[in-house]
């Protein structure tokens, strides 16, 4: 039995807009193992969220998708919408960034948390309700019977976020995709979020953490992938990555954090419509060379991979 | 600007409006007959090659009357809306710009006028002033100005917070200058949309009032009045009512279509302006 839970192969997403065609995701290839916490880090706007949406098959209507996504051996990128509905929420679930926007303000929290249970576990209303209360209690939302009947606006921010996690884990998914869980969140709350996620991970759930918060990724993950301008440019296990990042962008990214001196990366972020020729990072790279004008290959070294000519 | 004209909805409605305005202005030229020409031998004739829209109870050619009717309706529409716009925008901008008690007073005044359902207010004023086109227009202005006051005030409030307005005041521009050079140009869009929708509404209201016998003098060729005259014959000679009504609908539709298209094209916060179908 393979350990691989999610396998993404050559996934690309193109979105036509008024300003031009956005190449949001370009030939993304990676896999996530069962029970593994996998982080995809990168700048805002680099296409990471779109990748998450692509896996869930929740792309905007005008987006064009190509490639293959396999979940638990099943090719979910080829399923019909109806079949995909059985997968979402049950095998793979997503947790959004802003609980107040993600929850329906007009429906009670308990009802929303119970929905995946009723839809995917075939539970009756009463069973779902008691299980919801258990879930709320597990996530320190007390008293659960009272909270279950309340509306989102009656919850504090942190509590609603936990409720969102309860909702995402309601049907016991195997993989959770969390998109920017710590965006705009202060350090204390970040710790709380990390704690909740760890609680969930300890039960065996795998995570795809999409974040720009390098510190958070470091605390939580088993493996790291770095995303730049729609491409995955490095994948490595956590310790080796932070000890010795291989790709020049990864190095620059880590140098930019406050602890290491906050050195900014020179040059502007590239546009996702008109991208640099060849290696997308080369205009800003201290090691750039002529060969960088051609698309660099993805090289495997010591169980890691890097998309850079330096290692070819 | 050109982009606006490329919009199908806007272009189409402008063409129709252009046609109607042309018809109104050149009615004297285009109409086959004189609208006062009575031909009692040929009263109540159904549409024929001689009389494309038929004749009325006095033998007058309906097509001719419809063409001249456009004059009355369009005149009332444009006149009422222009004056209402002038009054309303002035008050609205002043209220939005200065705020404070001036704003309060103007708003309460606006609310008071708006407290009356528009038709009732127009009726009441017409009732006491008497019949006639000018009185009807006065009544309609009394109703319509509030719309522009509200829109102008809202837009002014929006614009007031913008950087360039504040900067302008910091460098010492007088209030009048700021209002004229900065606020006004930026509220043109919503005001224009309301104007177009407003003309449509005014035309409907004027036709309605004339239909009730409370608008224009009965002998004037006006679409609403024609419908009123045709009431007695609606079973025996329905064409008396059919054509004027049809033209009212087409005209109002064109104005609404235009205003609608304008609003969709100018997008953003303009979505709040809804067709209220006031009359």
């Amino acid at each position: 039995m393979s350990d691989v839970l999610l396998k993404v192969s050559d996934v690309s997403v193109i979105i036509p807009t008024e300003q031009g065609t956005v190449h949001a995701v370009d030939n993304a290839t990676f896999s996530i193992n069962k029970h593994e916490v996998f982080s995809l880090i990168g700048e805002s706007g680099s296409g990471k969220s779109i990748l998450g949406q692509a896996i869930m098959r929740l792309l905007p209507l005008n987006a064009m998708f190509s490639g293959k996504v396999e979940l638990g051996g099943m090719e979910i990128s080829a399923l019909s919408e109806k079949e995909m509905q059985k997968v979402r929420g049950k095998i793979v679930s997503s947790i959004a960034q802003n609980p107040y926007l993600a929850m329906n303000p007009g429906i009670r929290v308990g009802t929303q948390v119970a929905e995946p249970m009723q839809a995917h576990l075939g539970m009756s209303k009463e069973d779902a309700k008691s299980r919801t209360c258990q879930a709320l209690k597990y996530f320190d939302i007390i008293p659960p019977e009272v909270r279950e009947r309340e509306y989102p606006f009656q919850y504090s921010g942190g509590m609603l976020q936990r409720a969102m996690v309860a909702m995402g884990t309601a049907a016991n998914p195997e993989l959770i995709i969390a998109d920017e869980p710590t965006k705009g969140v202060d350090v204390l709350k970040k710790r709380n979020i990390a704690a909740i996620f760890q609680k969930v991970a300890s039960k065996g759930c795998a995570f795809l953490l999409i974040t720009h918060d390098v510190g958070f990724a470091r605390a939580m993950s088993d493996r790291i992938a770095v995303n730049y301008c729609g491409q995955i440019i490095e994948i490595a296990e956590k310790e080796p990555f932070f000890k010795e990042p291989l790709h020049p962008y990864s190095q620059a990214l880590l140098d930019a954090v406050p602890e290491r001196g906050m050195h900014p990366i020179p040059g502007p972020s590239p546009s996702m419509i008109e991208m640099p020729e060849g290696c997308r990072f080369h205009p800003r790279c201290p090691n750039k060379a002529d060969r960088c004008l051609k698309n660099p290959p993805v090289v495997e070294i010591n169980g890691r991979c890097v998309r850079c000519w330096m290692y070819a | 600007m050109i982009k606006l004209l490329k919009n199908r909805q806007i272009a189409l409605s402008l063409i129709i409006l252009g046609g109607l305005i042309f018809m109104a202005i050149f009615a004297g030229f285009l109409a086959p007959y004189d609208y006062t020409e009575k031909d009692l031998q040929n009263r109540l004739q159904p549409p024929s090659s001689n009389h494309l829209f038929g004749t009325d109870n006095l033998g007058r050619d309906i097509l001719t009357m419809v063409m001249y009717g456009a004059q009355a309706s369009l005149l009332v529409g444009f006149a009422v809306v222009s004056i209402s716009l002038a009054i309303g925008v002035t008050l609205g901008v002043l209220a939005g710009y200065y705020g404070g008690w001036l704003d309060e007073i103007i708003m309460r005044l606006t609310d008071s006028f708006l407290a009356f359902p528009s038709m009732f207010l127009a009726l009441a004023i017409t009732a006491f002033l008497g019949q006639g086109m000018e009185n009807m227009m006065l009544a309609l202005i009394a109703v319509e100005w509030t719309v522009f006051a509200r829109v102008a005030r809202g837009s002014t409030l929006d614009v007031k917070t913008k950087g360039y307005v504040r900067a302008s005041r910091w460098i010492g521009a007088s209030n009048a200058y700021v209002m004229i050079k900065h606020v006004l140009p930026n509220i043109i869009s919503p005001v224009l949309i309301m104007a177009s929708l407003g003309i449509g509404n005014v035309i409907l209201a004027a036709a309605g009032l004339s239909f009730l016998g409370l608008g224009v003098q009965p002998s004037t060729p006006e679409w609403g009045a024609m419908l009123n005259a045709g009431r007695t014959y609606f079973t025996t000679a329905p064409w008396l009512m059919l054509f004027p009504g049809l033209f009212i609908m087409i005209t109002v539709l064109a104005f609404n279509y235009f205003g609608d298209g304008l609003r969709d094209a100018l997008d953003q916060k303009m979505k709040n302006i809804e067709l209220e179908g006031r009359f």
Binding site: A96, M103 | R108, A115, A127, A207, G208, L212, G245, M249
Partner: protein
């Protein structure tokens, strides 16, 4: 919180009410001629000099303007709108009666409007940018542009003359519904046009919200998403929509009731004007304005109540 808002709104009403009453009262002064003569004119068109004098004194018409106004207000506040010499009835009673009839018609019209507008608005939003949507939107535009008196006659010609299903006009003692259907339909379709666009707008708005995306992420069927997550939130503005339609219905009633001979307040106002019964006109206009104001106020309150968030965090 809510109370503060409520009190503030009530306070705003007061100056407006004063303005309205003042405006209604002044109406008679913009008419050419002497108010006392105007009010004492009998149906035959003449008036008795002595009676006019007596009237003047009795109603304080020789008093300064503001005292007359205050007297008038005092009376109006207790429901004494005066007595119409023209129609020989108490103004208030007549107006109240007429309003009741208009109410009956309006309720039926609203029902018709909602039955048409809600499904069309929702479907139009769900299928937005397709032919169905375009057709519905054009239909709505048509509904707002068509003169209601013309539409009324078209419907009469079809339903009464051609197929003989419904009576062409008449009051039918106010209880026979067949007399109500056509006028209510004319009013209702016009309202439906206005409502449909708002409902569509609201539905589109809701469908674009993030919580709908979340619901999809949970793997819920589109049917559940629409019914449980979207509709409830999309229809909250229905209350406001109904409130806005009240104005439309009242305005429409003027012409529609006249055409169909329905003894409602629209008909009353028109008749009174044509017969120069100015007391009645003044009374009806004031009555309608006050009721309209109160209804709008009420609708506003309900809207705030229905939005729990606004309740707890209010900036007007």
């Amino acid at each position: 919180m809510l109370n503060e808002y409520f009190i503030r709104r009530v306070l705003y009403l007061v100056p407006v009410l004063i303005f309205i009453s003042f405006m209604s009262f002044s109406l008679i002064y913009i008419a050419p001629g002497d108010p006392a003569e105007i009010m004492m004119t009998s149906p035959s068109g003449g008036y008795d000099e002595a009676a006019v004098e007596a009237f003047r004194i009795a109603h304080g018409l020789d008093q300064p303007f503001y005292i007359q106004y205050l007297n008038w207000i005092k009376n109006a506040a207790v429901g004494d709108f005066g007595y119409s010499y023209m129609s020989e009835q108490s103004v208030f009673e007549t107006v109240l009666n007429a309003f009741e009839n208009t109410l009956k018609l309006s309720v039926l019209a609203l029902a018709i409007a909602l039955i048409i507008a809600i499904p069309l608005g929702v479907v139009s939003a769900l299928k937005h940018n397709t032919i169905v949507d375009d057709a519905c939107r054009f239909g709505a535009l048509l509904g707002v542009s068509i003169p209601n008196f013309w539409q009324a006659y078209l419907m009469i010609i079809f339903f009464s003359v051609i197929v003989h299903w419904l009576p062409a006009s008449g009051f039918g003692h106010g209880t026979d519904i067949s007399y109500m259907i056509l006028p209510a339909a004319v009013l209702g379709t016009g309202s439906a046009a206005v409502m449909m666009r708002m409902i569509r707008s609201s539905m589109l708005d809701v469908m674009g919200k993030e919580y709908i995306q979340t619901a999809r992420g949970k793997g819920l069927s589109e049917k559940i998403i629409i019914i449980r997550h979207a509709l409830k939130n999309a229809l909250v503005p229905v209350i406001t929509v109904i409130g806005l339609s009240i104005g439309f219905l009242l305005n429409g009633s003027v012409v529609v009731e006249t055409i169909f001979g329905w003894s409602g307040i629209g008909n009353l106002v028109v008749d009174s004007i044509l017969s120069h019964d100015y007391m009645m006109v003044q009374g009806s206009v004031l009555f309608v304005a006050v009721i309209f104001l109160l209804i709008n106020f009420f609708v506003d309150l309900v809207y705030v109540w229905a939005n729990p968030e606004i309740r707890y965090d209010k900036t007007s």
